[in-house]
């Protein structure tokens, strides 16, 4: 078996030593550091990107929270405004209702006063008419011409008591 021929051993050992040591130096000094650098750079970039992403995410969340707060505030103030407007309107409505009521009451009073006045004047003119009728009637009935003042007095007595007692 050629492997067991000792004459070939020295040359194999020599070249093995040369190539192996050369390879070791190259790997140790050049190849591995280069690969390690690239791997490390990649890992660093990943970490950086990840950190940036989390920072941006937090910022976005912050903005969202601010927006929410703003919206809630706006909503609350809008509510306030509506409420005050509502109250103002209600107050004004009440005011106008009261004014109207007062006006109506005044008008009713005035109307009642006019009615009373008209009633009074109607009554007084009625008295005159009744006096005339009574004078004519007495004249006709008993042929006596009563004195106008006596007739007026009698009529107003009767009408007065009748007015008091109920409608004449």
């Amino acid at each position: 078996m050629p492997q067991l021929d000792p004459t070939v051993w020295p040359t194999q050992l020599f070249w093995l030593a040369v190539t192996f040591i050369a390879l070791y130096l190259i790997v140790w000094r050049v190849a591995l550091p280069r690969i390690a650098d690239v791997l490390e750079a990649r890992q660093r970039k990943l970490d950086d990107d990840l950190k940036k992403a989390t920072a941006l995410k937090e910022e976005a969340e912050q903005i969202l929270a601010d927006y929410e707060k703003l919206r809630a505030d706006a909503q609350a103030s809008a509510h306030e405004v509506l409420k005050t407007a509502n109250d103002a309107l209600k107050a004004e409505a009440e005011q106008q209702t009261a004014a109207l009521a007062a006006k109506l009451a005044a008008q009713t009073e005035e109307a009642e006063a006019r009615i009373a006045a008209a009633k009074a004047s109607a009554l007084s003119s009625l008295e005159g008419t009744v006096s005339e009728v009574v004078m004519a009637a007495t004249e006709k009935l008993i042929g006596v011409k009563a004195g106008a003042q006596e007739v007026d007095r009698a009529v107003s007595d009767v009408m007065g008591s009748q007015a008091k007692g109920g409608g004449g």
Binding site: M1, W9, P10, T11, Q12, W28, A31
Partner: protein, 249 residues
């Protein structure tokens, strides 16, 4: 061993031939003779260097194919070391990486038809195994001093058994370089010899030569797997021995 026809022995493929000089009859090879074995070793060196350096030339953050492969080999061995030795093993990363790549590429280059497998020589594998063994033993001495010898006392054994157990443990420890080298050498030797023998039948059987041919194709695939596997086993055992030297003593 069976012959494939003619006077060729399947072991002829392992002969060391001088490439640049012709030997006189009776003259033996010198120290610096450039042989087929030397050629394959230099080719291995060149290929590994090219693979690593050219692969990392771009150094892009998103790697291309070659760069991915180079980084893969780096991370594979780095993972191996951190799994077996832990973080202190970091300093031994270059030697383990060199061993792994050298043996791997050596094995794989031998699969090329008409090339030579330099790992099929016991002296080469023994030298590599000795590097590991002596390195690890020196490491253990440097780290633990004379306490190193407590390694050979199995835990929990009664003192009466020591005269029996300690020589056995010593023999077991000393057998490490032997097993490391013989394993690699025997796998390569057996694989290539088998291939040669089966291939020898292709011509003999005429039409039925397709069967040995198919077998050779299948065996080649298997041998490529074994090339990877043996490099891996060598590397992981080296890591385990380093771990032994650093801890557990």
């Amino acid at each position: 061993m069976a012959e494939g026809g003619g006077a060729h022995s399947p072991l002829e493929q392992f002969e060391i031939k001088s490439l640049l000089t012709t030997l006189e009859p009776g003259e033996t090879m010198g120290l610096v003779t450039f042989t087929n074995s030397s050629l394959m070793m230099v080719a291995t060196l060149v290929l590994i260097t090219a693979f690593l350096i050219l692969g990392m030339r771009r150094g892009a953050l998103v790697p291309g194919r070659m760069q991915s492969l180079a980084e893969l080999s780096y991370e594979f061995i780095a993972g191996l070391i951190s799994d077996t030795v832990g973080s202190e093993g970091r300093r031994y990363f270059p030697i383990v990486f060199t061993l792994f790549m050298f043996i791997l590429f050596g094995n794989l280059l031998g699969m090329i038809p008409y090339s030579f497998t330099f790992t099929s020589h016991i002296i080469v594998t023994f030298a590599l195994a000795l590097i590991v063994f002596i390195g690890v033993t020196i490491l253990a001495f440097v780290k633990h001093g004379m306490h190193f010898f407590s390694f050979f006392v199995p835990p929990g054994a009664p003192v009466a058994m020591w005269p029996l157990l300690i020589p056995i443990e010593v023999i077991s420890y000393l057998s490490r370089p032997i097993s490391l080298s013989v394993r690699l050498f025997a796998n390569m030797l057996a694989g290539h010899t088998l291939l040669k023998v089966i291939a020898g039948f292709i011509g003999l059987l005429g039409v039925f030569g397709v069967l040995p041919f198919a077998l050779v194709v299948a065996l080649t695939g298997l041998e490529i797997l074994i090339a990877f596997l043996q490099a891996y086993v060598f590397a992981i055992l080296t890591c385990l021995y380093i771990n032994d030297a650093l801890h557990l003593h």
